[in-house]
């Protein structure tokens, strides 16, 4: 008999496979997704005590088909009789052994959906999480999350998207949507791993699991590998990222002995291989971010950090994305290589595009502090603290301002 965590892992892995089978057979994603959820709940109730059946996938398919049939029967009045008749046939004994997890992932990350709905739907249909678990993770009532998911499914239905891999023409764009959704899930979990918010940190683990899945199915794709590497290399620092009081510890001050060397080794190997496989100039966004994370992670002491390499990578990333937030990070790297003045000059170049954003003030405060301009640094930290929408960051920035203001050293 299996222990409970193994049952949960098994169910999550099987969830998209079973859903794929039902969608292939009945063509109704919306109803099939509900039926699979019910089958998963039934399995989660019975398997831990009654034991995992010999053919868990077949068990789930049968259970889900039964739920779907029941559902259609209760809707009978609204449906054509032949549909229902077709459903009465017993499920075929032979289920084709194909895995449609990737097709489902593309479907759930459909660009017609808002990022928040794609995230919720992906966690349920591909991740096998229950609505209650997703609602908990995003701190909203279950009824609200249920609506978000069902609206997302309606949107997919009305988009008329067929259940197959996107064609070559749109493949790259669709993959970008998938990676973005996985990144958002990771970010949601990792960013909120401050304090004891365990429900949400599980999201980071789930994002890594889904990224591993995508990487296994698309092993030659450099950006999928890059995203997985980025997640691993970021997650490796989790234990060092907060202090005992739950406050944020910036990268430069983290206790690097707490970093997870195993995750770092895996992440570095992934991104190195991905970059080596690519042609010159073909490095993708996630690979570049992962390469930057790797450069930080392999420095055993903060003073060993290869800042010239990081500065170069931010330059590549900046040209690739045109994202002013990347420019902020490049300014920090430039300050580390060429001194704080060089960093401040770069900030001036993006100041217009980021006017009023707390990150601009936070970075400027940091660089002014490095330049020895304490008074101006305090003003920037205060301005940043007043505008951030994150409590741990507000506390950090307020403490920075107070520390400089009272003349204390770090």
């Amino acid at each position: 008999m299996s222990t409970e965590p193994r049952v949960e892992d098994l169910l999550r892995a099987l969830a998209p496979q079973v859903l794929g089978v039902l969608v292939r057979r009945y063509g109704d994603f919306t109803a099939a997704e509900d039926a699979v959820q019910e089958a998963l709940l039934a399995a989660a109730t019975h398997w831990p005590d009654g034991g995992v059946p010999d053919n868990p996938r077949g068990w789930l398919i049968q259970a889900a088909v039964r739920k779907l049939t029941d559902q259609y029967r209760s809707d009978q009045a609204r449906r054509r009789r032949e549909d229902v008749a077709a459903l009465r046939e017993p499920p075929a004994g032979d289920v084709p052994d194909r895995d449609d997890t990737l097709v489902l992932l593309f479907l759930c990350c459909h660009p017609a959906l808002t990022p928040a709905s794609a995230v919720a739907l992906t966690l349920r249909a591909v991740g096998g999480l229950t609505t209650a678990e997703i609602a908990n993770a995003f701190l909203v009532p279950e009824a609200t999350m249920a609506q978000r998911i069902s609206r997302a499914k309606l949107k997919i239905k009305s988009s008329g998207e067929p259940f197959r891999m996107p064609g070559d023409a749109e493949r790259a764009g669709r993959l970008r949507s998938v990676l973005h959704v996985l990144y958002l899930i990771f970010n949601e979990g990792y960013a909120s791993s401050v304090g004891d918010d365990l429900q949400r940190t599980e999201l980071a683990a789930e994002a890594i699991r889904l990224a591993r899945l995508a990487h296994r199915m698309l092993p030659a794709d450099g950006e999928v590998a890059g995203l997985l590497a980025l997640m691993l290399l970021t997650d490796a620092r989790r234990a060092a990222r907060t202090n005992a009081e739950g406050g944020l510890v910036p990268l430069a001050e983290q206790d690097r002995r707490l970093w997870d060397r195993e995750l770092i080794r895996e992440g570095v190997a992934l991104v190195t291989a991905a970059v080596a496989r690519g042609t010159a100039g073909s490095m993708g966004e996630y690979q570049a971010q992962a390469a930057i994370a790797a450069a930080h992670d392999i420095a055993l002491r903060v003073e060993d950090t290869d800042w010239p390499q990081i500065l170069g990578l931010y330059g590549i990333l900046e040209r690739m994305t045109g994202n002013p937030m990347v420019s902020l990070n490049r300014a920090v790297a430039a300050a580390m290589v060429h001194g704080p003045r060089a960093g401040l000059d770069l900030l001036d170049a993006v100041a217009d595009r980021l006017a009023g954003h707390y990150r601009l003030d936070a970075v400027r405060g940091h660089l002014l502090e490095l330049a020895g301009e304490t008074g101006a640094a305090v003003e920037c930290y205060r301005a940043a603290a007043a505008r951030t929408t994150s409590l741990p960051e507000q506390q950090y920035l307020t403490t920075q301002a107070a520390r400089l203001h009272t003349g204390q050293s770090r």
């Binding site: 701190l139 609200t144 949601e188 930057i292 994150s390």
Partner: protein
């Protein structure tokens, strides 16, 4: 998605200076029904987090303490009762623009004779997670 708290106090809006106890029962019913419909709409949109009304100024208390002596407890109502919080909603939305849209609906709730009360609604973003460093 960012979460916003939409706060209302007891200040009557530009469209309504009459306390609710002096409205007609039909107008009160219409006002309450409006709130229910709005909450249902927010749930249906997948945006609803919480909606609460607070008990009135008559029951309000203010507590001050130096952490040593017995706290000083003052019973309401207070002269500035109009500034007290009457209730709030929390919504989880795509953007600030959407939160403003919802706040506008709340402000335009029907008052006497169905005229929008135009009560001021305070919009505050709830602190969320920090961004990823890298």
């Amino acid at each position: 998605m960012p979460k916003y708290m939409l706060l209302q106090n007891y200040e009557g809006g530009a469209g309504c200076d009459i306390p609710m106890t002096e409205w007609t029962p039909e107008d009160i019913t219409a006002h309450i029904e409006f709130q229910h419909v709005l909450n249902r709409e927010l749930v249906a949109n997948g945006e609803f987090v919480e909606a609460q009304g607070l008990s009135g100024p008559e029951l309000a208390k203010k507590v001050v303490s130096d952490g040593v002596a017995a706290p000083v407890v003052t019973d309401g109502p207070f002269p500035e009762a109009k500034e007290l919080l009457a209730g709030y909603r929390v919504v989880d939305v795509e953007s600030e623009a959407r939160a403003i849209e919802i706040a506008a609906k709340i402000s335009a709730a029907p008052g006497p004779g169905g005229v929008p009360i135009q009560a001021p609604v305070e919009l505050r973003q709830i602190m969320g997670a920090p961004t990823i460093e890298s």
